[in-house]
């Protein structure tokens, strides 16, 4: 291969036919790869001296705001910290004026924080007892500003990962639509979206009890066990899982293991904030297996198309799924 041709390619001036030739040549052996790497580096190096920096101001502004992002969250918390006591005081005086005798302690237990995430969002929350909760997309959690002396109770809609500080004197309870999860100190994942037809509790470490609202019968989980509550049958099934995969969403990954397409589509919708329509009935029972590591929606769709018999089309901001 002539140096001239390689340089033409590196400069991006080669036509598609030539590109094909050159790529083939580069892939032939290590020597070619090395020659390409060095030539490319020399080209990059030789151009470093003659660049335009016109929008560096704009870029710097963008950088500045990224750098300050953390500060703004802190600022919001600070504002909340100032407003909240005010709110308590206001409700206190309100009740007093109404002739009700309520002491301030009681009111402060009434102050409930509610935190929600949008589709595509994720939040980390520090609870008053030092426990941490990571809230997945399209979810919300509410908890009292201060836990009582005997109980730590939170209410969850959606999915969250809990890392709970151990405190044997105060059990920690996650209340969902149909069940309670009771723990002393441990880490676990609860997936309980109102639109899903089941609730999954997966234990990472420690010990938890999953208690069905109606029967009050507890199911005890050991690490890497998952309790799946089916809303329709109203029963709990326990199976062994890879808990790392269950909580992979914390790192932006989506992991499916023979997951019904209906569920896959729900998870994608929450992560990418886009509507899906399953057009062909045969797909309703299709089970998908695959991992998406921080991919864009486009890449996810391409990958599904390549690895299954599912084809997709975009129509009015919706993704239509069809069997090929």
């Amino acid at each position: 291969m002539q140096e001239k041709e390689l340089i033409k390619y590196i400069k991006g001036e080669a036509n598609p036919e030539e590109v094909k030739e050159i790529l083939k040549w580069i892939r032939e052996n290590k020597e070619h790869q090395k020659r390409y790497a060095i030539l490319k580096a020399k080209y990059v190096a030789s151009n470093l001296g003659c660049l335009d920096h016109e929008d560096v101001d704009l870029s710097y502004k963008k950088f500045s705001s990224k750098r300050n992002k953390r500060k703004s969250v802190w600022y919001q918390t600070a504002v909340a910290a100032v407003l909240l006591p005010l709110l308590i005081w206001q409700s206190y005086t309100y009740f007093q004026n109404d002739g009700l005798i309520v002491n301030q302690d009681k009111i402060s237990t009434v102050v409930v924080k509610n935190i929600a995430t949008n589709y595509g969002g994720q939040k980390t929350i520090n609870l008053p007892d030092g426990s941490t909760v990571i809230l997945n997309s399209g979810s919300s959690i509410s908890y009292p500003e201060n836990f009582t002396d005997t109980l730590r109770q939170v209410t969850l809609k959606g999915e969250a990962y809990f890392d709970i500080e151990r405190d044997v004197t105060k059990p920690f309870i996650v209340q969902t639509d149909h069940l309670k999860v009771r723990v002393l100190g441990t880490s676990f994942n609860v997936k309980s979206y109102p639109k899903d037809d089941k609730i999954e509790t997966t234990l990472v470490s420690g010990k938890v009890e999953v208690i069905q609202e109606e029967t009050e019968a507890p199911v005890v989980l050991t690490p890497s066990q998952r309790a799946t509550f089916h809303k329709e049958e109203s029963d709990i099934k326990v199976d062994q899982v890879d808990s790392d995969k269950i909580v992979a969403w914390k790192q932006g990954k989506l992991v499916f293991d023979k997951t019904p397409l209906k569920q896959v589509v729900q998870d994608l919708k929450r992560k990418y904030d886009v509507e899906f329509v399953i057009e062909s009935d045969s797909l309703l029972h299709y089970r998908y297996t695959g991992e998406f590591d921080n991919l864009s929606l486009e890449d996810v769709l391409e990958l599904i198309k390549l690895s299954s018999s599912i084809d997709y089309k975009r129509k009015n901001n919706k993704i239509m799924l069809n069997s090929e």
Binding site: I7, K11, P16, V19, K20, L23, I26, R27, Q33, K34, Y36, A37, I38, K40, A41, K42, Y43, V44, A45, S46, N47, L48, G49, C50, L51, D52, H53, E54, V56, D57, S59, Y60, K62, F63, K66, R67, D293, N294, L295, D299, E302, L303, L306, S307
Partner: protein, 191 residues
Amino acid sequence: MEREIHIRNSYFIKSINEGNKEAFKVLFELYYGKLLFVASSYISNKEDAEEIVQDVFVKAWKKRKNISSNINGYLFKITKNKCLDYLRSKKGKLSALANNASQIETFINHQALSDLDSNTIIEKELELQIQAGIDLLPEKCKKVFVKSRIEGLKNKQISEELEISIKTVENHMSKALKHMRLHLREFLSFF
């Protein structure tokens, strides 16, 4: 070419370590365009390349306390590693199935940027060009810039030392900063 100034100058590095935003801004203005050119030479998506270089500076800011004398090598290495991470994620995905030109390019660009000899070529030239950018300033202007931003003297001290008015110091500074932003075509292209 005489090299009076050094981006490795200890006062400059110390200011960065201490979180001096002015000093960091100088660093950003000196390096941003060049690192972006490096990144976008190996990554075809322009926006992704920009995002990567932005992240490079966010990381450098977060780790500013660890920056030692070789600031050039440090910035280049973060940029390179972030680009490789990006290319790896793109490469890993569809490679087994698809076989189109852009995917092969991702693959060979990943290889090219992993090549250590190639890295050395770019890293060295980067430092030379940054240096040259400072050296090409008009003499007086350069002195003021170096005394202010690299050695950390106050405008008043500079005016006394160089026997010029404070106003002139300020003018030189703004000229120098403008010069940093505009770029120079004085260098002969390799090709």
